[in-house]
C-alpha cells in the first residue's frame, strides 16, 4: 500500500452510532418498504442508499424534505464515538487530509459536523447534494474536486456496500470493526485493512509510511 495522504469518512457507522429507525422510516415513506428495520443503522442506511441509487430521477421537493428531516433526526440522536475527535486531531497534525464524503444530505452532514465541532479537522465535505448522487458519487466528487491520489486514499466503512464502493472508485476500503461477528463476515470481502477504533488510524498510516520507507 502506498503512503496514505487522505482519508474519506462516512459519518454513519464510522464516526458515530446512529439510530436505524429514521433511515428505515425514509425507506418506508419514500419507497414503500414494509420489512422491519435492521438492528444495524449502517445496514439500514446502505440499504436506503441502494433504493435511492436505483431511482432514476432525483427526489422532488416534498420527498427531499421528508428525507432531510428524518436524516437530521438521525443526526440529532447519533452519539459520536469518543475517540473521533482526538483521532481526527492527530491525523490532521500528521498532514492527512480528511474529508467527509457522505451520502447524507448536505443539511444532515453539516448538522453532524457542526454539532460535533468537526469542521476544524476537515479539508472538505462532499454530500449527495454536492455530488448529485449517493454511494460512490460523494467519494468521486471528493477525489476529483480535491485532486486526491486514489492509491493514497482510504475510505472507512463498516458495510459490504462500502467496501465495494471504495473498490469501485479505486481507494482503499478500511473496515471499521464495530461488531466482531459482523466484522468477521465483512473481512471475507477483502478490505484493504481494518481497525477496531478510529484511534488506531494514525498508527495504521504511520506503519504504512514506515514500511514504504524501509522499502
Amino acid at each position: 500500500m502506498q503512503t496514505i495522504e487522505a482519508l474519506l469518512l462516512e459519518p454513519v457507522g464510522c464516526l458515530a452510532e446512529f439510530p436505524s429507525a429514521p433511515f428505515h422510516e425514509i425507506a418506508v415513506r419514500l419507497f414503500g418498504r414494509k420489512r422491519k428495520a435492521s438492528w444495524s443503522a449502517s445496514r439500514t442506511y446502505w440499504h436506503l442508499l441502494n433504493l435511492i441509487d436505483a431511482v432514476e430521477t432525483p427526489f422532488g421537493a416534498e420527498k427531499k424534505s421528508v428525507a432531510e428531516t428524518l436524516e437530521v433526526e438521525a443526526v440529532d440522536a447519533a452519539s459520536i464515538y469518543e475517540d473521533v475527535v482526538p483521532a481526527l486531531a492527530e491525523l490532521k497534525s500528521m498532514g492527512i487530509r480528511l474529508f467527509v464524503a457522505s451520502s447524507l444530505s448536505r443539511r444532515a452532514a453539516s448538522r453532524f459536523i457542526e454539532r460535533n465541532s468537526l469542521g476544524q479537522f476537515l479539508s472538505g465535505v462532499r454530500t449527495r447534494d454536492d455530488a448529485g448522487g449517493v454511494k460512490s458519487a460523494p467519494l468521486l466528487n471528493a477525489l476529483v474536486g480535491a485532486s486526491l491520489p486514489r492509491e493514497k486514499t482510504m475510505f472507512l466503512t463498516d458495510t459490504v456496500e462500502g467496501i465495494k464502493v471504495a473498490r469501485s472508485v479505486g481507494v482503499h476500503p478500511i473496515l471499521m470493526m464495530n461488531d466482531p461477528e459482523e466484522s468477521q463476515r465483512l473481512a471475507m470481502h477483502n478490505p484493504a485493512g481494518g481497525v477496531v477504533s478510529l484511534h488506531e488510524m494514525p498508527d495504521f498510516i504511520r506503519l504504512i509510511a514506515a514500511q514504504n520507507q524501509r522499502g
Partner: protein, 329 residues
C-alpha cells in the same frame, strides 16, 4: 519450511554487522523454539537470514556481579536458570517462574533472550493469516476467537498478548537488559524493553530491540532486605501452555508493613502489565488476610476485554489475591 541462509558469527560485533547488512530480513537465532516454528509455518514475516549466536562466547552464563546481583547471558537456557543454585538462593520466585515456562524439553532449548523477545502466539498469526504482524492490516484476533491469546487490556492495531513469563518475573526485581548495538552498549529496564506493540523498523513488535541490536544479558539487582516475591500462573494444562493470566509480585516489608511493591500481570495485555494502581494501594498497608480482597477491588480498572476474554481479568484478580495470600504465610 521457508528456505533460509544461516550465518554463524563468533563475536557479537560480527553478528551485528551481518544483521545490519540484511536489515529486517535477518533475525537472531538461538534456541529456535519460536523462530523455527515461524519458519516451519512459512509465515511471511519470518526472516530469510538467520544469525546463529550460539557460537559466540560469553552469552551463556549465570554469575554473581560485584554488587551482589546476578547477571545472566541472553543465550542461557531456561533449564539452566531453573537449575541454578545461585538464582534459587537469591531469587527463588524467578526460578519458580522459569520452571513454569512450557515443558522440560523446550526449556532445554529455549533461551532467556528468546523468551523475553519472542513473537506473540496468536493462533491467527501462527496460522498464517495476513495480520498486522504478517504483512496485512487487520487483527483477526480482535474479531475472532480471542479467549486465550489476546489482550483484555486494549491493543494497538495488534491485540495479541505478550506471551513471555520471564519478563513478568524479572520486572518485580527491577531487572535490566543490556543490548549490543552498532553504537555500543545500550541498557534498558525490562519494562522499557518490552513496552507492548510498537512500530519498530516498519514492523509491529512487542519489544524495542531493533533489527541490528542483540540482547546480550539481563542484570538483576541484589535482592533488597525484607523482600518477598511470588509468581502465579493459570494455564489450561499444568505443563506446556502459555498463561491465561500470570502474576509476578514482590513486596518489600518491614515487619508486616508493605514499604514498596511491584505488581506485574502477564498473559492479559500486549505487554507485561505493571499495575501501579495496586502498587500505590499496597504502600503502607499491613499484609494480612483481608488485603487480597481489597487489592482485587482496585486492580485492573482499565480493563477493556474483547468479546471472549473478560474471564482473563477475573483470573488475574484471583491471582493477585492468591499471590498476596501466599506472601502472608
Amino acid at each position: 519450511m521457508k528456505k533460509v541462509s544461516i550465518y554463524r558469527p563468533t563475536t557479537v560485533d560480527e553478528a551485528i554487522q551481518i544483521l545490519s547488512q540484511h536489515g529486517t530480513s535477518a533475525s537472531v537465532y538461538a534456541g529456535g523454539t519460536d523462530l523455527l516454528i515461524r519458519l516451519k509455518n512459512r509465515l511471511e514475516q519470518a526472516p530469510s537470514y538467520l544469525v546463529d549466536i550460539k557460537k559466540i562466547d560469553h552469552l551463556r552464563y549465570i554469575k554473581e556481579d560485584a554488587q551482589g546481583g546476578v547477571e545472566i547471558g541472553a543465550a542461557t537456557k531456561l533449564a539452566e536458570l531453573a537449575d541454578s543454585r545461585l538464582l534459587q538462593e537469591k531469587y527463588p520466585m524467578i526460578v519458580e517462574a522459569i520452571g513454569k515456562i512450557s515443558s522440560p524439553e523446550l526449556r532445554n532449548a529455549s533461551t532467556l533472550g528468546g523468551d523475553l523477545l519472542q513473537e506473540v502466539w496468536c493462533q491467527y498469526l501462527r496460522g498464517g493469516y495476513s495480520c498486522w504482524r504478517n504483512g496485512g492490516y487487520l487483527c483477526y484476533g480482535a474479531i475472532g476467537d480471542n479467549s486465550y491469546y489476546h489482550s483484555a487490556m486494549g491493543g494497538r492495531l495488534c491485540y495479541a498478548v505478550y506471551p513471555g513469563d520471564a519478563a513478568t518475573a524479572l520486572i518485580p526485581f527491577d531487572a535490566r537488559a543490556k543490548l549490543a548495538t552498532p553504537q555500543g552498549v545500550k541498557e534498558l529496564s525490562i519494562e522499557q524493553m518490552v513496552p507492548g506493540d510498537m512500530l519498530v523498523d516498519g514492523k509491529i513488535q512487542s519489544h524495542v530491540v531493533r533489527y541490528n541490536e542483540i540482547l546480550t544479558s539481563v542484570v538483576i539487582p541484589p535482592p533488597k532486605p525484607g523482600v518477598r516475591a511470588s509468581f502465579e500462573k493459570l494455564r489450561p494444562r499444568g505443563v506446556w501452555d502459555f498463561a491465561m493470566a500470570s502474576l509476578g509480585i514482590s513486596l518489600q516489608l518491614r515487619d508486616k508493613t508493605i514499604e514498596d511493591s511491584r505488581v506485574v500481570f502477564g498473559g492479559i495485555s500486549g505487554k507485561p502489565y505493571r499495575e501501579t494502581t495496586v502498587e500505590a494501594f499496597l504502600k503502607g498497608k499491613t499484609l494480612n488476610t483481608e488485603l487480597g480482597e481489597q487489592a482485587m477491588s482496585v486492580a485492573l480498572a482499565g480493563a477493556a476485554p474483547l468479546k471472549y476474554n473478560a474471564t482473563k481479568i477475573d483470573m488475574a484478580k484471583g491471582l493477585l489475591a492468591s499471590g498476596l495470600a501466599r506472601l502472608n504465610t
